[in-house]
């Protein structure tokens, strides 16, 4: 079983569109949406939820007013600025338990928090694991780990050939969790100054993991010069660019219709996406 995780560094380059196209073309795959902050893969794959699970991601401190003598020690020791006027602001509490350990009146409890939900669903392309992080909740990295673990178990049990994962943007904690254990990182970039800058950063991160790395340039024809610059950069790094997808309004229409572009259109972008899928599956098989 091989896992392809689709990443980008910069947001909005087309990760989900690429992931959905891979999902639609893979014969034997489990699908996972690890962009738990802003999960969008469901819009194209239309999952039918089979099982819902609660995600108890963290603990937060809570001050028991009846026991609290307002000595203020908890506020002094909290390094996250989460305690003010003998009240805990759950948005800033990181669950470190320092206040709980230090309170002389034992007036602080650590309370488990429901930080989100995750789902096992069916789609016409295969089983899908996805999640929704609660509003203003932290620990998206942990929820990513939960989603990935469930996807891997389903893939092992059902002897699926691939796991195809839609990753989060950035290079922070949920991205690190997404990369963990993957066989290939497929990085979708765009021919812009920001796209290149962010590609460089996410590549540096991915190089710390034992993953094969491939790059796709989306909307490459909107800025041919920048596109060439990105290709040159990848060559200099010894990284293969396995696809260049042209700008094509058919993609926007497919997304608006809620259909993976490779199923909606046979235009130039859809054809390029098909090619990317073929090369990704080939690439990960030998990874």
């Amino acid at each position: 079983m091989k896992e392809i995780v689709v990443l980008s560094g910069k947001g909005g380059t087309g990760k989900t569109t690429v992931t959905a196209s891979l999902a639609a073309l893979a014969k034997n795959a489990v699908l996972a949406d690890c962009d738990v902050d802003a999960a969008d893969l469901y819009l194209l794959l239309k999952p039918e939820i089979k099982e819902t699970f609660e995600f108890w991601g963290s603990q937060k401190a809570k001050i028991n007013e009846n026991k609290c003598e307002e000595c203020g020690k908890c506020e002094d020791v909290c390094r996250f600025g989460a305690i003010e006027n003998f009240k805990v602001n759950p948005i800033f509490c990181e669950g470190c338990r320092v206040c709980y350990n230090i309170c002389p009146r034992k007036a602080i409890d650590m309370v488990d928090t429901l930080s989100g939900h995750w789902y096992i669903s069916d789609t016409k392309y295969g089983p899908m694991v996805h999640a929704r992080l609660g509003i203003a909740e932290e620990n998206s990295g942990k929820l990513v780990s939960v989603v990935k673990k469930a996807a891997r178990e389903i893939a092992e049990r059902g002897r699926y050939e691939y796991i195809i994962t839609d990753g989060p943007p950035g290079i922070g904690c949920p991205v690190i969790s997404s990369l963990s254990g993957a066989d290939m990182a497929l990085i979708v970039t765009e021919p812009t100054a920001a796209g290149l800058h962010d590609l460089e950063r996410v590549l540096k991160l991915a190089e710390n993991f034992k993953v094969a790395i491939k790059v796709v340039i989306n909307k490459f024809d909107l800025a041919q010069e920048k596109s060439k610059e990105i290709e040159q950069y990848c060559i200099s790094k010894g990284i293969e660019v396995i696809g260049k997808i042209p700008f094509d309004e058919e993609i926007v229409r497919a997304v608006s219709k809620g259909v993976p572009p490779v199923e909606y259109s046979s235009g130039p972008a859809a054809e390029a996406l098909k090619n990317v899928a073929v090369l990704s599956f080939e690439g990960v098989r030998i990874a």
């Binding site: 991601g57 620990n139 990295g141 942990k142 780990s145 939960v146 673990k149 904690c173 690190i176 969790s177 990369l179 963990s180 254990g181 710390n208 993991f209 034992k210």
Partner: protein, 119 residues
Amino acid sequence: MKIAVTSAGSSLDSMVDERFGRCRFFIFINPESKEYEAVENIYTGDVHGAGVQVAQFIVDKGVSALITGNVGPNALRVLKESGIEVYAASSMSVKKAVENYIKGKLTKISNPTTPSRHN
């Protein structure tokens, strides 16, 4: 003498679980007498530093060697510092893995085989 094996089930016929921090069971076994104890891994749902925690658990059990599939850098550091030798086994039963261990046929893991999990 006691060694630990990460296992997918609670018996010696179970397969070696290749995951370390998130394996289903640990089998603690005396390789000579074959006396063993299976303990469920209670840390699988734990999202913070599972590797370190599980390594600490293994260390506290006082084993001299561990047989598993993959180990990350944090867990390996804890195990190494405690003088526990780590051996790799995959696609075989716990019984077979222990036999291979006695015969000296398992490869020692001296470098992490999975990247760090920061959470």
